[in-house]
């Protein structure tokens, strides 16, 4: 099987790359183990959380790009970031859209009772940015142990109640189970009635981010009607239901467009021929399947999915053996404090402006390999709050650049 493009990695950068190439009419295979980190970390689209809400994102980003040429944003440039974001945005037409408030960062409340600066917010979370200004009631569910309304209420200075959903209060409910039940009218009727009884003068009601996987806006609308107040979602511990929504949309559209979507298998080998890669092999015991392509995009992420591996001395990229830009050894890679910025997170694959991996002289190592996502060097996406922005931007452009050739 021969493809125009093979994307390795199921995260947002891989999905974005595959979607972009498929929309260009190319024959695409996306292959990866797992679900990427959409279902773990992603709920809103973080672009650059260091920009205060008083500044327009464009201005803040422009300054950042100027000051950080080695950062993935610095490599691609401001206009390219905007184009990629726009492509992502148009993939989510109403009613479930991703919007910013006044083209700037906003503070969204989190499941730890803190606030996070983020850029594009899905419709089901948008109203939460008004939490500080409006009287809010937070709703938790007995048995859903990853969300505690009372603690959030104590920390966010509002009120919190816990609803009991079953006869047996000890029964646990997973986020997926709760999200599924939300899509049934019977639970929404119950919630509507109960919350209506409890509500005093609150205008905003906060829920854990479980308002359904398939039709979150339908769920929200129905509950709002039943309660008679605005509601919003609060992101929490994984699994992230909002992240699953994004993943499902990409998957459905890719398959619809004829893309080959191979989720669950990891590439075991990439076969080079001089400075050109020919094919990848996937060992699915006991058979080995191979896939060839004109171009490959490596979007395997950092350590979680095995995009990078480290022992006490070295950090390696195991698939294409691309050089990883690190210095020192395990002792130096981590600060003494958990909250320090650990140098290891800034290490990754060095690329040129078109996202091709380069050697120590700055020359592209392979003709047909491109790199996208958090595996790139030069960023601290967790501290900066830039994860999804980097994934979307570099996924989009790696595909555009590869497919132009």
């Amino acid at each position: 099987m021969h493809y125009d493009l093979i994307v390795i990695g199921m995260g947002l950068s891989g999905l974005m790359a595959a979607k972009t190439a498929a929309e260009m009419g190319k024959k695409v295979l996306i292959i990866g183990k797992g679900l990427g980190t959409l279902s773990i970390f992603s709920n809103t689209i973080d672009l650059l959380g260091t920009i205060p809400p008083t500044m327009k994102m464009k201005d803040g980003l422009s300054q950042w790009v100027h000051d950080h040429p080695e950062h993935p944003y610095g490599k691609v440039g401001l206009e390219k970031i905007e184009e990629a974001l726009s492509s992502f945005n148009s993939f989510f037409p109403p009613p479930y859209t991703f919007q910013s408030k006044n083209d700037a960062n906003s503070l969204v409340p989190t499941g730890a009772g803190t606030f996070r600066l983020t850029y594009l917010i899905p419709s089901t979370m948008m109203k939460g940015i008004n939490l500080k200004e409006k009287k809010t009631l937070i709703i938790g569910f007995e048995g859903y142990k990853d969300f505690y309304a009372r603690r959030l209420a104590d920390l966010l200075n509002c009120r919190g109640i816990t609803l009991s959903l079953s006869e047996n209060p000890q029964t646990e409910m997973t986020a997926a189970a709760l999200a599924r039940r939300m899509e049934k009218p019977s639970l929404r009727d119950f919630i509507g009635a109960e919350v209506k009884k409890e509500i005093r003068d609150e205008e905003l009601i906060g829920f854990p981010a479980v308002l359904g996987v398939n039709d979150p806006m339908g769920v929200r609308k129905d509950i709002e009607k039943k309660i008679g107040a605005s509601i919003f979602e609060i992101p929490g511990l994984p699994p992230s239901i909002p992240g699953m929504r994004i993943f499902n949309r990409f998957k459905a559209k890719l398959i619809q467009k004829g893309g080959n979507f191979l989720s669950g298998y990891s590439v075991s080998k990439a076969i080079p021929r001089k400075n050109h890669f020919e094919k990848i092999e996937v060992f699915h015991p006991p058979v080995t399947n191979s896939y060839s392509a004109d171009h490959f995009i490596l979007a395997t992420g950092r350590f979680i999915g095995g995009g990078l591996l480290a022992d006490r001395e070295r950090i390696v990229e195991p698939l294409f053996n691309l050089p990883v830009s690190y210095i020192g050894s395990q002792e130096e890679w981590f600060g003494k404090s958990f909250f320090a910025q650990h140098s290891i997170h800034g290490y990754g694959i060095l690329t040129d402006a078109s996202l091709r991996p380069i050697d120590e002289n700055g020359k592209p190592i392979f003709e047909n390999v491109w790199v996208a996502g958090t595996i790139l060097s030069g960023h601290h996406c967790v501290n900066e709050k830039s994860r999804e922005g980097i994934e979307i931007t570099t996924g989009y452009w790696a595909a555009r650049n590869a497919m132009k050739l």
């Binding site: 679900l35 773990i40 409910m173 997926a176 189970a177 994984p238 459905a252 669950g264 006991p286």
Partner: protein, 403 residues
């Protein structure tokens, strides 16, 4: 256990990220099953050799493998569950019902020969009530009708034609309960110039494996592999039309059951549509298709997903002019092979299937297509729609219908 493919690092690589919990169809609908994170790598840290099994919820794992596919660390969760299930049932004992459900191959030929009586009994309310009360086989579940003649019997009368040979592992269900699928397969392959050959074969053993009966499953594998190996070694590639049989022979014979020769068989065993796709890529797919202006909805069975070959049926079906195809966005159908026949699991099975039903209802297709006979049974049961194997639509679309 094949040590080469079974590293003892499973407990170490699970990072508790709960990706698996997001996709498990069983824990999504019932709190009785704690979910793959706990049932698999979580519980594994507590299972000491020599301790009796206490995993009484373990047989609620439906064996869909979706957790394996979602795991970012590659923990083979469903295999961990299966081994725990086997141990639990070995200690607790297996009911007669489980033996009956997993050994249908022993009576299927007789059931087919006496199909009129068999089908009468399987539909009879009294019989179903008895089966429910005595054996815990849920009476709400429609039991599949038997056909006569069997596929093999039909094939014996069928004049062979074609230049190149291809072998077919048809599987129990096609043989005695859905002969038309086998026929359609033969006709499409013959239209492409292949002579179909049926190697001696028995039940692949998946129902036994799924019920934790490693011994029984291994016996079936040891029966099948020699004749399959002989076929392969004579230079003939082999195909399967049931994704469940395919998954069993291609992967589990080697990975879990360590059957000698299974590795070699696996290298020459292909999904029917994978085979057609390969032909198409080489420009060897000879047939022309007529227009088929209907709407079909395609459902990818769990075992197809775990085969890791993508969705080849979709690719081939897209060659049929004017055929409107939608891929159904739902994961497990809920039948789980023998799982949904059991009284204590029927409701869970149906609750899982509800999501699939809703997705199908939204699409309003004329026909639903899926490669797995279990899914076909379940979708018929859930929706009452016409459900076919995709090869049957392909057969319908042949320009020059074969004899």
């Amino acid at each position: 256990m094949n040590q080469k493919t079974w590293p003892k690092t499973n407990a170490d690589v699970c990072i508790r990220c709960a990706n698996c919990m997001a996709v498990c169809p069983v824990s999504r609908v019932t709190p009785l099953f704690p979910g793959p994170k706990h049932a698999g790598p979580g519980a594994e840290r507590f299972r000491k050799p020599g301790d009796p099994s206490v995993d009484k919820w373990i047989d609620l794992c439906i064996g869909c493998h979706l957790c394996d596919l979602a795991c970012s660390s590659g923990v083979p969760i469903s295999e961990l569950n299966l081994m725990a299930k086997a141990k639990y049932l070995d200690e607790k004992g297996r009911p007669l019902r489980d033996w009956l459900l997993t050994h249908t191959y022993l009576f299927s030929r007789m059931a087919s020969f006496l199909s009129i009586i068999t089908n009468f009994l399987l539909k009879n309310r009294m019989v179903k009530w008895l089966a429910d009360h005595l054996l815990d086989i849920d009476k709400r579940r429609e039991l599949p009708a038997y056909q006569s003649p069997t596929f093999r019997q039909w094939f014996r009368e069928h004049p062979p034609k074609g230049e190149r040979k291809v072998a077919y592992f048809y599987g129990c269900y096609i043989n005695t309960n859905e002969v038309e699928v086998g026929k359609a397969m033969v006709q499409v392959l013959e239209a492409n110039g292949f002579e179909v050959f049926l190697p001696p074969q028995e039940c692949c053993g998946l129902p036994m494996l799924g019920n934790g009966d490693f011994k029984g499953a291994r016996e079936m594998g040891l029966k099948n592999v020699p004749s399959l190996l002989e076929t392969i070694r004579s230079g003939t590639e082999m195909i399967y039309s049931s994704t469940s049989c395919g998954h069993m022979i291609r992967h589990e014979y080697n990975r879990l059951l360590n059957i000698p020769g299974s590795e070699e068989v696996a290298e020459h065993l292909f999904d029917l549509f994978e085979f057609l796709k390969n032909l198409n890529e080489k420009g060897d797919l000879k047939v022309q298709f007529i227009e088929l202006p209907i709407k079909v909805a395609y459902f990818a069975p769990c075992h197809l997903r775990s085969l890791g070959i993508g969705l080849p049926a979709l690719e081939i079906l897209r060659l049929i002019p004017r055929l409107e195809i939608e891929n159904i966005e739902a994961d497990c159908c809920g039948l789980g092979g023998t799982f949904g026949f059991k009284r204590e699991k029927y409701e869970i099975s149906q609750e899982i299937g509800k999501d699939l039903k809703e997705a199908i209802d939204k699409l309003k297709p004329d026909v639903v297509l899926t490669d797995c006979e279990g899914c076909r049974m379940q979708i018929r049961h859930l929706t009452g729609l016409n459900v076919l194997h995709p090869i049957q639509i392909l057969r319908k679309a042949l320009k020059e219908p074969a004899g």
